[in-house]
């Protein structure tokens, strides 16, 4: 192969060599609470019910006789374009959250959840 042809091939490869990348990161308590809001009733559901349904929370907070169970699931997804002279990466992070308030008798007094589709319940 002639040196010039080789050089042409190398240059072409350098210009056209491209790659792509995908990225995903999940952290926190992965709980499928979407659709489960109907299962919880203020004044009736107990802390035991919530723990049984959703598992251990991400955080527990207490204020006087009140207890708060907080669930957080963090999900990052990204994709990228890897070229020789230019690289681009975009990462979107979304948060699923749920919060439950219980009185001194461990009965649910208030709750809220928001899944990745953005619906509050």
């Amino acid at each position: 192969m002639k040196p010039t042809t080789l050089l042409k091939l190398c240059t072409l490869c350098a210009l056209l060599l491209a790659g792509c990348a995908q990225y995903e990161n999940r952290r926190g308590v992965e709980v499928a609470w979407s659709g489960s809001a109907e299962e919880f009733t203020v004044g009736k559901t107990t802390r035991h019910d919530v723990l049984k349904r959703l598992g251990p929370p991400s955080q527990v907070i207490a204020l006087n006789d009140e207890t708060v169970l907080y669930y957080l699931f963090e999900r990052s997804q990204g994709n990228g374009l890897v070229l020789v002279v230019y690289n681009r990466m975009q990462i979107d992070t979304r948060y699923d959250r749920a919060i439950f308030f219980f009185d001194g008798n461990d009965v649910l007094t208030e709750f809220s959840s928001r899944a990745q589709d953005g619906n509050a319940k």
């Binding site: 010039t4 690289n87 975009q90 992070t93 809220s112 959840s113 509050a120």
Partner: protein, 203 residues
């Protein structure tokens, strides 16, 4: 003949440029959902925690305080542009030229509630500014000239809530058990820290 040489020189220059310009990158981060699209409730004495949660959903950060709760929601867009030129193909492998810029756009909503779940204060702040800007001519490109690490990391403190309960007490708090105090015994050389007098230090 002259034309072939010219073409070869052009191709070689192009190839070297392609190899050298390997550090041009753009990073985009989106964290959370926009907050300003919602009307912010006002603390008129009747607004409740339930109403605020109905609008914004559960918060991203929360804490109890002496009189109630503090909730925070946030939304971030971070953009990092970087250009790095490595001159090694040109025989200057000890030199790297780097230029980088980081810009952010964000929203932060902070709300406080009393123990009866009434909204006592709320504020939404927004910003759109440049938070990092760097240029460097350095050997081998050792250091990043701009970083977004602290801006885009997750809510680590929430995920490590349980582990935080098991952290060691600072050695300083238990300094009275320090062998150097001269009041807490002696220990033979090379004794493991997990046993003997050193274990009292909890370090």
């Amino acid at each position: 003949m002259q034309s072939k040489k010219g073409t070869a020189a052009f191709l070689l220059t192009l190839l070297l440029a392609c190899i050298g310009l390997t550090g041009c990158s753009q990073w985009y981060y989106h964290l959370g959902e926009t907050l300003s699209q919602h009307a912010v409730p006002q603390p008129d004495g009747d607004t409740t925690l339930k109403e605020v949660l109905a609008v914004f959903g559960p918060p991203h950060r929360l804490s109890a305080d002496t009189n109630g709760y503090v909730f925070a929601w946030e939304y971030w867009r971070v953009r990092e542009d970087a250009v790095g030129v490595n001159l090694s193909p040109f025989g200057l492998d000890f030199l790297s030229v780097d230029v980088a810029r980081v810009a952010t756009q964000g929203e932060f909503l902070l709300a406080t509630f009393d123990a009866e779940h009434h909204l006592t204060a709320i504020n939404l702040s927004t910003w759109n500014n440049r938070v990092g800007d760097g240029k460097a001519l350095q050997p081998f490109g050792v250091y990043d000239v701009a970083t977004t690490e602290d801006l885009v990391r997750g809510f680590g403190e929430v995920h490590t809530y349980g582990a935080s309960m098991l952290r060691r007490l600072p050695t300083a708090l238990n300094r009275e058990s320090d062998l150097s105090s001269g009041a807490n015994g002696i220990e033979q050389r090379a004794t493991p820290h997990s046993m003997g007098q050193h274990s009292l230090e909890m370090r």
